[in-house]
């Protein structure tokens, strides 16, 4: 049986910081899964993803969620430079997790989709689909906060999945 689910890299923060970058991502997988287990060092922050150092308005996302107060909501952002992995379900000082699937990330013919689940029992859960409007293979993924920092002990792990 072929091994199709492999760890690529993992980072555990020894101090609070605002971003984590995975560089030189091999194109030898079909999909990539990013698992984040984190909290904020103080206050709150949305989690923003960026690929290949592209800070242009080449991203979009759509979400459905459960927010505090029994609210359910859906929304989107187009042509943004700051695509969220969440909407609610943001970082605060409660531990949460964010799991993102980068689909067919290394192909050079289609735009890239990201399916994410965001989970913070304190402020929200839901699903978020993101899009990067580029046909370039993804070779770098940067995860950053919109404010404040990821706290010490937060972990970020990248897995590669092969179709065969």
């Amino acid at each position: 049986m072929a091994i199709t689910y492999e760890p690529i890299a993992t980072t555990t923060l020894g101090s609070a910081q605002s971003s984590v970058t995975f560089s030189s991502i091999s194109g030898s997988y079909t999909d990539i899964i990013l698992v984040i287990n984190a909290k904020a060092n103080t206050g709150t922050a949305n989690i923003v993803w960026e690929v290949n150092s592209d800070t242009g308005t080449n991203y979009s996302y759509t979400y459905v969620n459960a927010e505090p107060g029994g609210v359910t909501a859906s929304g989107r952002a187009s042509s943004t430079a700051s695509p969220y992995l969440n909407f609610y379900g943001y970082l605060d000082t409660t531990w949460g997790n964010w799991i993102a699937h980068f689909m067919n990330y290394s192909n050079t013919t289609t735009y890239k989709s990201v399916l994410a689940r965001f989970n913070n029992s304190n402020n929200g859960t839901g699903a978020n689909v993101g899009l990067w409007r580029s046909t370039s293979a993804i070779t770098q993924i940067k995860i950053k906060t919109s404010a404040n920092n990821f706290d010490t002990g937060s972990t970020f792990t990248l897995y590669g999945i092969k179709a065969a």
Binding site: I3, Y5, E6, P7, T10, V35, N37, V64, N65, A66, E67, P68, G70, V71, T72, G89, T94, W95, G96, N97, I99, R117, F118, N119, N120, S121, N122, N123, G124, T125, G126, A127, G153, T155, T157, Y159
Partner: protein
Amino acid sequence: MANTYTAIATVTVGAGGASTIEFTSIPATYTDLYVLLSLRDNRASTSGDNVKVTFNSDTSSVYSYRLLYGDGSSAGSASGSSEAQTRIQYASADNQTASTFGSLNMYVPNYTSSNAKSISSEGASENNATEAYMGLTAGLWNPATQAAITSIKFAPYNGTNWKQYSTATLYGIKNS
């Protein structure tokens, strides 16, 4: 390259049912845990059922959850804190289409850490009727003294027994 996604154990409910499904003596040799469940319980309902989840036999009020769900016509949400368990959704219930079982998963990152344990879960109790439920869950186990997860128990939320042929498989995932 190491094989990082390993089946640890599977439970299949036998004739007569079972009040809980439990994994015990979970080794600390992985980074994350992942559970796939196929569940039906004896709740007399067409609305499916939630699933109680407890870790390390801890039933003190140290769990929380936030749910997003849909019933085939509208969406809703719920939350709880200082609960005796967290919960995931949805198992099939006894009055739903016969021979159907709810499909659920649950992901627990860093289950051996000394921090609170957060979970991610999705599930659905598909039903050949106008009412069927699916849901997403964020959960948290936050005991006063943090500990590695060594056991996980799943129990019906409103029902009392898992039906025969319900199954659960526990996987371990390593990050290196």
